[in-house]
């Protein structure tokens, strides 16, 4: 077993891929019986410090329907300078540049350790990165100030040649012109009127019909940048200008009467942002960054009316079909997201407000374009400030940890077909021989577009074994999958990363042990969870749980069932959207944390240790550190809390206590440092109101119902009617047995 664990780990580190099954059942029938589908989690841009990109173009299979990239699994005839494609078996000539090839002189892509390889190609014009800020001005003074500062700060984090633009909105939408000296100039749009891209471009003066026509001159290509440059300027040029502009930004001046929400034209603002980029920089990497402090209250995409007495929709309203703006708004944002994605632009949403901000409706903007979604209480919190800062964080080599406009192409050997993908992507509708008719997630294609991705962005890709039972695969046969990701690197280079993997086929009837042994429980859990979440997004909640119950077993499921990804109880629609958004893009480890939070205990009894996520772990003399991905909770047990109040940590003789208190803080800090988005950091103690974050997550093994635990020192009772893991397992066992019979 150990070997498999190592194998899995090694594979993940080298290729960023984890399969649910690492030995594949060789026929469709058997594969279906396995319940957990053959699928993998792919992190296309997994950070590989040891992987220097090569500076030439990949060699492609010449069959038009294949075009697979030359890889270590290909059979090479060094003498004839031929290679056979391992997907379609086409025999190809090496290009002239490979004339010197031989067994000892192999190009990198043929070496086994380069099952993942990255090419830098010099095709096409290099366009600078584009950052378009879309800023809500209907904020409290304090919030706006904080946001302005964050934005000003961000200018210094951008690459100097990056183009920036600014759109502000409130009741009106203003597109600021950045090139002008003296008078600052902006184009203003009504916040209630949906405009087509064409109209927007006309009104911004971006369309240029008259000029060439009138002059009878041929189109002048240099003209375009000149035009658009009014709104998008290189940071280094308008750095000061923009800083001033941001500084002078006022709160939306339109009066808000008592009992009303401010009029916020988020829908139109986004529409204009999308239209602007669409007209000026199609198909180049660009980020639209939306900062909003409340729900859209007018125009297309409005989520709630401006009457404060009508609260924003809840899950209850949605179930009762009582959310009157939801469908329309969702449609508006979906249209925008699709347009934006089609142009390779991504949309980030930074929503900071105490109430909901309409993430439910707007989620597709981030989900389909690979944009970030950040939810906080205020722009004036470190949660937002640091998260925002982290968007611009740089990798070890000083490169931005972001990439744009990725195009993921998946190729499979004949026995496999592609059922779909789940992640921050949209389909490119590339039909081909390796596309399955059964769809799981976003299917019907072998190519997806990911407008923005970073080193953690992870897609779940589902396959279908199509080999018929009566056509057995020869012994030792291997199935292969190749992932080709073309993307725009943050340095504006165009790169192609190719990952080719292969797994053994096994006959489930004869080699069941092998298959079982190669089962990756963690990957399977996450993959199933993604499927579940994907379904939850599109289907009714209870149905999904039932589907999951029918499909699954095992530990994770207990927590998954209780997680906010599937349970909407106690979560607002915005929160659910937020959690699901992140779940659908994080890598395996993070996903696992999300499903089953990690709990560490710190005590004088020994070094920090992971403990069961169970109420029995809550003891008076322990400090607990829980990481749920979205929250980091430090919980001081009853006794510890009392000690702390008594001030023992300040006494020199109790320095060890001080260290004990400090240890979880340090660990938490470490997590905070690396995670995006920044988790909510909670420091609480026994009986503290915020302890609820911990109590709601742990397995309620002791509740007010099983009184035997009362008075014992073994943890804290949870006041809940939820079943505990014990009960769940008992029930599950019963079910398993009965269904087996």
């Amino acid at each position: 077993m150990a070997t498999y664990l190592e194998f899995i780990q090694q594979n993940e580190e080298r290729d960023g891929v984890r399969f649910s099954w690492n030995v594949w059942p060789s026929s469709r029938l058997e594969a279906t019986r396995m319940v957990v589908p053959l699928a993998c989690l792919l992190t296309p841009l997994k950070e590989r410090l040891d992987l220097p990109p090569v500076q030439y173009e990949p060699v492609l299979c010449s069959r038009p329907t294949c075009k697979a990239v030359l890889n270590p699994l290909c059979q090479v005839d060094y003498r004839a300078k031929l290679w056979a494609c391992n997907f379609c078996f086409q025999r190809n000539q090496f290009p002239p540049a490979y004339a010197g090839i031989s067994e000892v002189n192999q190009p990198a892509e043929l070496m086994p350790q380069f099952s993942t390889i990255e090419y830098i190609v010099q095709r096409g014009p290099q366009t600078p990165l584009i950052f378009l800020y879309v800023v809500d001005t209907c904020l409290e003074e304090e919030d706006l100030q904080a946001l302005k500062e964050s934005l000003q700060m961000s200018l210094s984090l951008l690459p100097p040649d990056a183009l920036v633009g600014l759109i502000t909105f409130g009741r009106m939408v203003q597109v600021h012109e950045l090139s002008c000296e003296g008078i600052s100039k902006s184009y203003v749009f009504r916040g209630t009127k949906d405009l087509t891209a064409k109209q927007i471009q006309d009104m911004l003066g971006l369309s240029r019909p008259a000029v060439p026509m009138q002059q009878g001159r041929p189109l002048q290509t240099p003209q375009q940048p000149v035009i658009s440059s009014r709104f998008l300027q290189p940071v280094h040029k308008i750095d000061m200008n923009l800083t001033d502009l941001l500084g002078e930004l006022q709160r939306d001046p339109w009066p808000v009467t008592q009992g009303k929400r401010p009029l916020r034209s988020t829908g139109v603002a986004l529409s204009i942002a999308v239209g602007l980029l669409e007209g000026t920089f199609p198909n180049t990497g660009a980020r639209i960054m939306l900062f909003t402090g409340g729900p859209p209250t007018q125009g297309p995409g409005m989520v709630v009316g401006d009457e404060l007495k009508t609260p924003i929709r809840s899950w209850h309203d949605i179930e009762k079909d009582n959310a009157r703006f939801m469908k329309k708004a969702t449609k508006h944002y979906e249209t925008l997201a699709n347009r934006s994605a089609a142009n390779g632009h991504c949309i980030d949403i930074y929503a900071c407000a105490l109430d909901q901000t309409g993430l439910l409706e707007m989620k597709c903007c981030a989900n389909l374009t690979g944009g970030h979604m950040v939810m906080g209480d205020s722009f004036n919190t470190s949660l937002f400030k640091q998260t925002f800062q982290r968007v611009f964080s740089r990798g070890y080599n000083g490169e931005f940890r972001m990439a744009f406009g990725a195009n993921l192409d998946v190729k499979t050997s004949r026995e496999l077909k592609i059922a779909g993908a789940i992640g921050p992507c949209i389909s490119l509708n590339a039909k081909g021989p390796c596309v399955s008719e059964n769809e799981l997630g976003i299917g019907g294609t072998s190519q997806w577009k990911i407008c923005s991705l970073d080193h953690n962005t992870t897609l779940a890709i589902y396959f279908e074994v199509v080999n018929q039972h009566n056509a057995p695969i020869p012994q030792g046969g291997r199935g292969a999958v190749q992932f080709v990701t073309q993307y725009q690197h943050s340095s504006t280079q165009k790169r192609i990363r190719v990952t080719t993997i292969a797994r053994n086929w096994a006959d489930a009837q004869t080699q069941l042990q092998h298959i079982e042994a190669a089962f990756d429980q963690e990957a399977a859990a996450v993959l199933m969870a993604r499927l579940g979440v994907y379904r939850a997004e599109s289907e009714e909640g209870p149905d999904v749980l039932r589907w999951l119950d029918r499909q699954l077993i095992r530990l994770f499921i207990f927590h998954l069932r209780r997680s906010p990804f599937l349970q909407v109880f106690n979560n607002s629609p915005d929160e659910s959207s937020y959690y699901r958004h992140h779940f659908a893009r994080q890598d395996l480890t993070q996903s696992l944390i999300m499903i089953q939070p990690i709990l560490y205990a710190y005590s004088f009894h020994g070094p920090p240790e992971p403990v069961l996520l169970d109420s029995s772990s809550i003891l008076p003399d322990r400090i607990l550190l829980m990481d749920t991905f979205f929250q980091i909770v430090i919980y001081l047990g009853e006794t510890i809390a009392q000690w702390q109040k008594a001030g023992y940590q300040d006494m020199p003789e109790y320095e060890n206590f001080k260290h004990l208190l400090q240890a979880p803080l340090d660990d938490a800090q470490e997590i905070l440092q690396t995670r995006f988005p920044m988790p909510r950091y909670i420091h609480t103690e026994h009986g503290g109101s915020q302890a609820r974050f911990l109590l709601s997550k742990v397995n309620p093994s002791q509740t007010h119902n099983n009184l035997y635990a009362w008075g014992q020192e073994s943890g804290a009772p949870i006041l809940t009617d939820d079943v505990s893991l014990q009960v769940f397992m008992d029930h599950l066992k019963k079910l398993a047995v009965s269904s087996a019979s």
Partner: protein, 1077 residues
């Protein structure tokens, strides 16, 4: 005149003025001979038979009858005066002409002919003058008339004579001869009498002859009577001509010629033809009184002596002399104020000053039957916020406390001097509806023994005709006190505007102009806030909030759905945002310096201003500076629909109508918000003033038009207009209602405003120059005892945001005798009303219909007088009421105006512009607009402050050797004769010769010599009197531009077919006679 003529004919006349006769006759003959004139004449007669008829009759008349009777009269009456006059004339004329006295004289005569059919009139005039000479201007003698007519005929002859001058005797004889014979015998003579002369006589004065005439005359109004030739003469039109000829003939020629003469007759027109025309009669230059007298001499020459028909100049002069010296005290009911041309002070003693209200008649018929019979329109021309001279006090502001002004319970009339307090002062009876209302406790006051309140003199509303009330919150929109109004400057920055330098000019000017926004009373700074917008096919708003370091520009390209992009910082206090505004105004010209945008929008601009005011919840005014037809894609987009082919068709009215109803709706919205629009237009081509003007017009705004704007020549004029427009007193969000005594009712309103119901005149803005003309109709009987009262109440927001009511009260007499009505009319006001009525008519009826209706109404007015008030006399006499003797000449001017009779050089835009302009003119403005003021500059007394005496608007009056100034409220022409002394040219223009004078001058050069100073001070004085800065145009005689200038010589026949004064007078006479018969 007839007399004169006779005299001429006969030796006696000749005796007095031997040379003269000789001249005339030859001239006459000459004229007739020319043949050319004939054509004109013929044309004249031909086209308007009516005209001809009168004319001929005159001629005929003259000859026979006149000769007999008239001569004596004229001779008798005039003898002394006449002689003197004649001498004068002669002297003058000759003097004036010195070099070639004869030629000089001729020209004038001939000229009149040339221009139009004028000649005849001219001839008549002389006769007229003669009469006039007789001093007793007022009285006319029917006899005179008769004589006149005769004279007229004779006069008719004279004109030719004028021509004849030039021609020479030889030719003369034949023509004259020919006509005569027939004339003599024929009845035609009477017809001739028609000629104006009689009328003029009355005006001028009575003369000795009067005695006889006197008898015939009605005591009251003088009338001029033209003898119409008895019907018999009329029948044959040809006969008329014949007659004319005949008359001529009488004068000179032998009958035999007649035949030949006949053709000659047409020559009448020809007179102009004669080469001599260039010369002018100096007589004109002579002081008016003399002029009047001069006629005698002329008479002999012409059929109708132009000087013998009623002269506006004389009337104005007389009024000035008679009434200009003493203040006009308004205490008496139904008192006719002095003319608008007279400078006088007003003392308010219970009636509103004529500066606020002028009526067509100050004595109203008691019954509607009477009113209908007279056809005199009952109208008041109201200028509620009129500016007063510094010597007069502005209306006092009265505060009646929280309960608001005291008003009648029933009709809601405001407390005024005519309210009757009863029951010891506890109640008052409304003077309008007779309802009795309790006096509110806080307003109670005891009465003295005469029934007057003890505090009568302490309360303006009890003792004055005009005063203001402070309005309470009930009088405010939405029951909220208004915010101070705002001015928004909206500047076209399209290519044309930038290139012409206009944008820069406006921005520069605004920088200083903003310090002169209207202030209330003695406030430190103006409460008015300002905002700025520039636009081409998109709009740019500017945030000029004081806290900003730099202004911010906000572009709105969504013109289809206009909105205001900002609230805070758009409308600002000038002082607080001074630096930001200055910076903005500096940068605007730079920002658009290289614009290539040629298309503009218009409606969205107004919408933007409207929305801005709405958002700021205040009233205000938009100053829009616009250059071109708005063809960019946007609401209110217009297309070029200028089509001159429509002129004189039934579709002509469409040229005055807006292209689309869009602007009407927009105007309605503007009025509802109190958004007044002032439009400054700088077109280089057609931009559809008729449509663009809808909003300014209906919101009480103004339009200023500077065609082919050029920085060098037009900037001064534009800037002056702009300054004045920005600085002048203005009220916002105004509603005006006119209440009247039971018996009459305000039924119709003319002016720049909007009405949503039938009684309330709503104006988004109302400035001190805007006038509303209100027409009244009877709905019951009035009584002579109580008279008729008007109360005009204007509710408005002052420039500081104070809600006020301005009340003007006026009491009028009522009459049961038509004579009383005619004695208390005011022709200037009448013309104001008629012009506005006609100018509105062109929107819905063909222009010809409108013109005919005008003529018809005036004919009825005059016929009614003739029938009911004038003493019985020959039907051939034209008798005009003293108060209306200028009606024909002024009416003719209205009929000839660009709107009603456009010449080829008048653009569609000009007509629409003038049409709207006239609609809100006051009486003084219409007066000078229709009958321009013509001043002989070379006659000005360099040492005094006074203006030189004006002369009549006829080319005949111009002398080649003089420089004249003509102003009509829009333009000032400086006309320079070809023979002007070099010294004068040097002094005035700083160049050494006539040919070096530049037409391009827009101002007179500043030269340090008395003449230059004097002329410039005259120009400045005139500019100061007008609400708009007039365009100065230098016209050199015989230059291209002279055509333009001649257009304003309104007594002459106009190129576009307008009749000359004399011809028109004849025509009127014919109309009247037709009505009478």
């Amino acid at each position: 005149m007839s007399v004169n003529q006779q005299a001429h004919t006969g030796p006696p006349y000749g005796q007095p003025q031997p040379g003269y006769q000789g001249y005339q006759q030859p001239a006459y003959g000459g004229q007739s001979l020319p043949g050319v004139p004939q054509a004109q004449y013929g044309a004249y007669n031909g086209p308007v038979p009516g005209y001809q008829q009168p004319v001929p009759p005159q001629g005929s008349l003259r000859a026979p009858p006149t000769s007999g009777a008239p001569p004596p009269a004229s001779g008798a009456s005039h003898p002394s005066g006449h002689l003197a006059y004649s001498q004068f004339e002669h002297g003058d004329v000759q003097n004036g002409i010195p070099a070639s006295a004869a030629p000089m004289q001729r020209p004038p005569a001939s000229q009149p002919f040339l221009p139009g059919s004028a000649p005849t009139p001219v001839s008549q005039i002389p006769t007229f003058q003669q009469y006039g000479a007789p001093p007793a201007s007022v009285q006319q003698l029917r006899n005179h008339m008769a004589g006149m007519t005769i004279g007229g005929t004779a006069a008719s002859a004279p004109p030719p004579a004028g021509l004849g001058y030039g021609v020479g005797p030889s030719s003369y004889p034949p023509t004259t001869g020919a006509p005569r014979p027939p004339a003599m015998p024929g009845p035609p003579l009477p017809g001739q009498t028609v000629a104006g002369p009689p009328s003029s006589q009355p005006n001028h004065v009575s003369s000795p002859p009067p005695p006889s005439t006197m008898a015939g005359l009605h005591p009251g109004p003088p009338m001029s009577g033209l003898h119409g030739p008895p019907p018999p003469t009329h029948p044959p039109q040809p006969g008329y001509q014949m007659q004319q000829n005949g008359s001529f003939g009488q004068m000179r020629g032998p009958p035999p010629n007649y035949g030949g003469a006949y053709p000659g007759a047409p020559n009448y027109g020809s007179p102009p033809g004669p080469p001599p025309p260039p010369k002018r009669l100096d007589p004109d230059s002579i002081p008016s009184p003399q002029l009047n007298e001069l006629p005698p001499q002329q008479k002999p020459r012409h059929r109708i002596d132009p000087d013998a028909i009623p002269s506006p100049i004389q009337v104005i002069e007389d009024d000035r002399n008679n009434r200009g010296s003493e203040p006009f005290v308004t205490g008496v009911r139904g008192q006719v104020p002095p003319l608008v041309t007279t400078n006088f002070l007003v003392k308010d003693q219970g009636n509103a000053s004529p500066r606020y209200i002028r009526c067509t008649s100050y004595n109203i018929p008691c019954t509607s039957d009477m009113a209908k019979q007279s056809q005199v329109p009952l109208a008041a021309v109201i200028k509620p916020l009129a500016a007063l001279p510094p010597e007069e006090t502005v209306p006092y502001l009265v505060d009646h406390g929280e309960s608001g002004p005291v008003r009648c319970n029933r009709c809601k009339a405001y407390m005024c001097p005519f309210m009757q307090f009863i029951e010891g002062g506890r109640r008052f009876q409304c003077c309008f509806c007779s309802c009795v209302t309790e006096v509110p406790p806080h307003y109670f006051q005891h009465l003295d023994h005469t029934g007057k309140r003890v505090d009568f003199y302490d309360r303006p509303e009890l003792s004055l005709g005009s005063y203001e009330f402070l309005a309470t919150v009930d009088y405010c929109k939405n029951n909220k006190f208004p915010s101070p109004p705002a001015f928004i400057f909206m500047i076209d920055v399209s290519y044309n505007a930038v290139k012409s330098g206009l944008v820069r000019l406006i921005c520069e000017e605004l920088k200083s102009l903003l310090d002169y926004l209207p202030r209330e009373g003695n406030m430190e700074e103006s409460a008015i806030r300002v905002g700025f917008v520039t636009y081409n096919k998109v709009l740019h708003f500017y945030n000029v909030k004081s806290s900003l370091a730099q202004p911010q520009m906000m572009v709105v390209s969504d013109v289809a759905d206009m909105f205001v992009p900002l609230l805070d910082g758009f409308l600002v206090n000038v002082n607080e945002s001074r630096t930001v505004i200055a910076s903005l105004l500096d940068q605007i010209p730079e920002m658009f310096a290289d614009t290539r945008e040629t298309e503009t929008v218009f409606a969205p601009v107004i919408q933007a201003g409207l929305e801005a005011l709405k958002a700021a919840e205040c009233a205000g005014k938009l100053f829009i500076f616009h250059t071109s037809l708005p063809i960019a894609e946007a609401p209110g987009k217009l297309k070029n629909r200028d089509d001159r082919k429509l002129i004189n068709t039934d579709k002509e009215k469409t040229l005055f109508q807006p292209q689309t109803s869009f602007y009407n709706n927009l105007a309605k919205d503007c009025v509802a918000q109190g958004c007044c629009v002032d439009l400054f237009l700088f077109p280089n081509q057609y931009l559809d003033v008729a449509t663009l003007g809808v909003v300014p017009y209906q919101t009480g705004g103004s339009i200023f038009k500077y065609a082919y704007f050029q920085l060098e020549t037009d900037q001064y004029r534009f800037l002056n207009d702009l300054r004045r427009d920005v600085q002048k007193e203005v009220g916002f969000d105004a509603v005006m209602r006119v209440r009247t005594s039971t018996g009459i009712r305000a039924t119709d309103f003319f002016g720049a405003f909007y009405m949503s119901n039938t009684t309330d005149v709503e104006m988004a803005g109302l400035d001190c120059d805007k006038t509303i003309t209100v027409e009244f109709k009877h709905d019951d009987k009035l009584s002579e005892d109580s008279g008729a009262l008007l109360q005009c109440a204007l509710l408005y927001t002052s420039c500081a945001g104070q809600r006020r009511l301005r009340i003007h009260n006026l009491s009028l007499n009522c009459c049961t005798q038509l004579a009383d009505l005619y004695r208390n009319c005011e022709t200037d006001t009448l013309i104001n009303y008629l012009a506005k009525y006609a100018y509105r008519g062109v929107l819905s009826s063909p222009v010809k219909t409108v013109r005919d209706a005008l003529i018809n109404q005036c004919a009825q007015i005059l016929a009614c007088y003739r029938k009911n008030c004038a003493s019985p006399s020959s039907a051939g006499q034209l008798i005009l009421p003293e108060c209306m003797k200028l009606l024909p000449v002024y009416l003719n001017c209205v009929l000839k105006s660009d709107v009603l009779q456009p010449g080829p050089e008048v653009t569609t835009d000009d007509r629409a512009y003038v049409r709207q302009l006239v609609t809100s003119m006051d009486v003084a403005e219409t007066n000078v607009f229709f009958y321009p003021r013509l001043l002989p500059l070379t006659k000005a007394d360099v040492d005094s402050d006074s203006l030189p005496a004006a002369i009549r608007n006829s080319e005949e009056r111009l002398s080649k050797g003089d420089i004249y100034l003509l102003e009509n409220g829009l333009n000032i022409f400086v006309w320079v004769g070809v023979n002007v002394q070099q010294g004068l040219i040097q002094n005035l223009f700083g160049v050494s010769s006539f040919s070096q004078i530049s037409n391009a001058l827009s101002t007179l050069p500043v030269l340090e010599n008395p003449f230059s100073k004097k002329v410039r001070s005259i120009v400045d004085m005139l500019q100061g009197q007008r609400s708009r800065y007039m365009k100065l145009i230098i016209v050199k005689q015989e230059d291209k531009l002279e055509m333009l200038f001649k257009h304003f010589l309104v007594e002459d026949k106009s190129l576009s077919g307008g009749a000359s004064y004399v011809d028109f007078l004849c025509h009127m006479h014919k109309e009247i006679r037709q009505l009478l018969s």
